[in-house]
Amino acid sequence: MTTPVSLRTLQAGQAATIATVGAAGELGRRIRDMGLVPGAQVEVVGRAPLKDPVALRIKGFTLTLRNNEADFITVIPEQKE
């Protein structure tokens, strides 16, 4: 098992499993409401033209969040075959 890295570091097309969600308060609540909880599978779909925000695929839908919001989330990247 690899150590968790920040969600920000993922490349487009890369998949990962959420390890921790460090955000508290409103942001934390919002992130969790959308299903970004430990154990959830995510995949980076793409980034906005200015590289921020980032678009993620999770639980069958697409979600966007800013890089500084993604910083609160650590993931374990899926090993590429």
């Binding site: 609540r29 409401d33 033209p49 200015l50 925000p53 069958g60 839908f61 697409t62 979600l63």
Partner: protein, 723 residues
């Protein structure tokens, strides 16, 4: 409140087809209003089921029932206080897991819930098989498969909700485990709540305890108000639990609760509810392909510029025709009244006060209508979310939202727009602070009514660089709007940036059902509420521009001048011109003697640093009614009679030859016109959209002050430079 008819609430995530279902149920029998004091829309309607009348309320789309957003607070308030007989929970079958998160919270609240498993067609096409019967068994509530777009299953779903609502007792709230620590805290807190009947008239006891653990601001506030002692006791228990979780698991109750909710949902779905045989040809994959182009690093912004320009173009080009017809109709009405009534103050009031006022109100209706239809289409299609996604990085810096770009463009971000539909377009913004900042700064854009003033003065003083100067003015509008937004967001409307976290819904063809009714309701609201205020104020402004007028002696002088001309000059064009000149002079004198004229004259010493004399002052005061009249008022002040803003060569010549006008004060006037107080209609719409006259007043004074400072600075600097 809803005692005589059955009352059902429709709840669900945004983009789950909730509103489509609501529109199918109610058709035209719906009403859109606002919840008191806030800008969240309240949609209510009626429907019939087997001869029985049913009241429906379409709750705002939410992902959760925390107190995260106004929508969630409102939805929860309706559920707790209006106590619907049942909740019809519309779920997007393709995103079942996340959609059930709301369902679980509804059940925790003890609501009788019937599930409409919507968008089953999409799910099926994606190769997603959902066993509705199994889901119903596991979760313990009726589940009906629906396709709201076509109406499939909707009646059955409503029947299920109605059956629930007719049960004599409400179901027991759903109890799930949140892990040992939280469960223990709940066990300790619930009896206290029950014993003291703490908030229990509206909410189940365990749910209140849960909300305390989640640190729910709304419930904490209610609790403190109801019984501070008990509230403090509960908070103490919460902090014990929180400390323990922090020490042992380095987490906090709120996170634990959310994890367990999702855990519960995942375990439900694993028990044979869902069979995912999705292939690559599903809608999301299709959407992804479209996104590869539509949000592409280079093509994305280019296409967006195209879409925004098209929005602008369609709104104002298409809006031109009905506006023209209205113009013709009102011109005709004016002509009839002009011919039928004797000269006098009543005629003047009717023509210049009332008919022009009503015409002014109605003139915006086509623009508002087209704007709402187009924005609804952009939102329904999923493109609006992409605009916000692409623009976020830029607008965030100024404390705005990516979606702020739309109100800005419509307000005149592309020169020639209009702030009235522009400000209304800010409804697409969910975050109240960003929305307010957008509304307050959008009027700085170059709206269509400012253009004639620009064209006149730029034509006179910048003959060689007209296009460049016009473009610079437009850019100045953008710069001031964005910088002011930044200033406001770090002062008056400060507040932690709301999280951006947002769904990018799959692209869908927009359904226009409901949009037309919705648009009509908005226009009716505008005409009824804004229209009456605007009419009243335009009558006041008319009076201000007319009274007290010139003295009888002065009027007599003009009459005798006219008699003299008629007596001495032979009939013909020369006499006509001479008579016209006298009338124009009288109109100018009358204007100067009116309240507005007196204020304009009185202000002369104050506006002198900007280079404005009384004529300019009056024109600018009149411009508060509508920027269109700046030119015509200037014409009257220059004794030129009525000046057509489009055909103003005489006025241009007068200004060109007037030594009082220099490049310096012309630039000051251009900048002042760009930035000063929004017009009357815009001020009224600001009140309507923000819910407070305070913001209209702020907009009036702030913009006026800012424009004045900028105008003085421009005039003084250019005067110095010219020396």
């Amino acid at each position: 409140m809803h005692s005589d008819t059955m009352f059902i609430a429709i709840a669900g995530n945004p983009n789950a087809g909730k509103t489509t279902a609501f529109n199918k149920y109610t058709g035209a029998r719906q009403h859109v209003g606002n919840y008191p004091g806030i800008t969240v829309e309240k949609k209510e309607g009626q429907t019939m089921l087997h001869g029985k009348q049913i009241s429906l309320i379409d709750l705002p789309g939410t992902y959760s029932l925390t107190a995260y957003s106004l929508e969630e607070v409102v939805a929860r308030k309706v559920l707790a206080e209006e106590k619907p007989g049942a909740v019809l929970n519309v779920l997007n079958a393709g995103v079942l897991e996340r959609n059930l998160y709301l369902t679980v919270q509804l059940l925790e609240m003890g609501m009788p819930v019937a599930i409409a498993l919507n968008m089953m067609d999409e799910a099926r096409n994606q190769g997603l098989q959902i066993n509705a019967v199994r889901l119903a068994e596991l979760i313990g509530v009726p589940v009906v498969s629906t396709v709201a777009r076509t109406g499939e299953g909707l009646e059955t779903a409503l029947e299920a909700a109605v059956t629930l609502a007719m049960q004599p007792t409400r179901p027991a709230p759903l109890v799930i485990s949140y892990g040992q620590d939280v469960d223990e805290a709940l066990l300790a807190m619930t009896p206290i709540i029950e014993e003291h009947q703490f908030l229990t008239t509206h909410y189940p006891a365990r749910w209140i305890a849960l909300k305390y653990l989640e640190h729910d601001e709304d419930i904490l506030r209610q609790g403190l108000a109801a019984n501070k002692e008990i509230s403090d006791l509960l908070s103490a228990k919460v902090s014990t639990c929180a400390k323990h979780l922090e020490a042992t698991l380095r987490t906090y109750p709120e996170a634990v609760i959310a994890d367990y909710r999702y855990g519960y949902i995942a375990s439900l779905l694993r028990q044979g509810v869902i069979a995912d045989t999705r292939n690559q040809q599903n809608r999301i994959a299709y959407s992804d392909k479209m996104d590869r182009v539509l949000t592409h690093q280079i093509f994305g912004p280019l296409l967006m510029l195209g879409v925004l320009y098209a929005m602008y173009f369609i709104t104002f080009k298409l809006g031109e025709y009905p506006a023209e017809w209205l113009g013709v109709a009102f011109e005709w009405l004016r002509g009839v009244a002009d011919a039928a009534l004797p000269e006098g103050p009543f005629k003047s009031l009717l023509l210049s006060g009332i008919i022009d006022g009503v015409g002014g109100v109605l003139g915006f209706v086509p623009l508002i209508m087209i704007m709402f239809l187009l924005i609804a289409m952009l939102e329904d299609s999923g493109y609006m979310a992409r605009v916000a996604y692409m623009m976020d990085r830029v607008f965030r810096f100024f404390g705005l939202h990516g979606a702020s770009v739309m109100p800005f463009i419509i307000s005149g971000g592309i020169a020639g727009g209009c702030a009235v539909p522009g400000i209304m377009a800010a409804r697409t913004l969910r975050s109240p602070r960003k929305r307010l900042a957008t509304i307050l700064t959008a009027p700085f854009m170059t709206c269509g009514a400012k253009l004639p003033v620009f064209l006149l003065f730029v034509g006179i003083f910048f003959e060689k660089n007209q296009t460049l100067v016009m473009f610079m003015l437009s850019l100045t509008g953008w710069a001031v709007a964005l910088l002011t937004a930044r200033l406001l967001r770090s002062s008056l409307i400060k507040g932690e940036a709301t999280p951006f976290v947002m769904e990018l819904p799959p692209y869908r063809l927009p359904t226009l059902s409901g949009v037309v009714i919705h648009t009509w309701e908005r226009i009716w609201e505008y005409m009824r509420k804004a229209g009456t205020v605007i009419l009243a104020i335009s009558v006041l402004l008319w009076a201000g521009m007319t009274y007290p007028g010139i003295s009888d002696e002065a009027a007599a002088t003009f009459t005798s001048k006219r008699t003299a001309i008629e007596a001495t000059m032979p009939e013909g064009d020369a006499r006509k011109d001479a008579l016209f000149a006298v009338s124009a002079e009288e109109a100018s004198a009358a204007l100067r003697a009116s309240a507005a004229g007196r204020i304009g004259t009185f202000l002369e010493p104050i506006t002198a640093p900007a280079g404005f004399d009384w004529k300019t002052n009056i024109a600018l005061i009149a411009g508060i009614a509508a920027k269109e009249v700046v030119i015509s008022t200037l014409g009257t002040a220059y004794s030129l009679g009525e000046v057509d803003p489009e055909e103003n060569t005489t006025l241009a010549d007068r200004i060109r030859n007037d030594s009082n006008w220099t490049k310096a004060n012309a630039v000051a006037l251009l900048l002042f016109t760009l930035l000063y107080s929004p017009c009357l209609v815009t001020l009224v719409v600001i009140k309507q959209e923000t819910g407070s006259w305070r913001w209209s007043a702020f907009s009036f004074f702030f913009n006026l002050g800012l424009a004045f400072l900028v105008a003085v600075a421009a005039n003084q600097i250019l005067l110095l430079a010219a020396r």
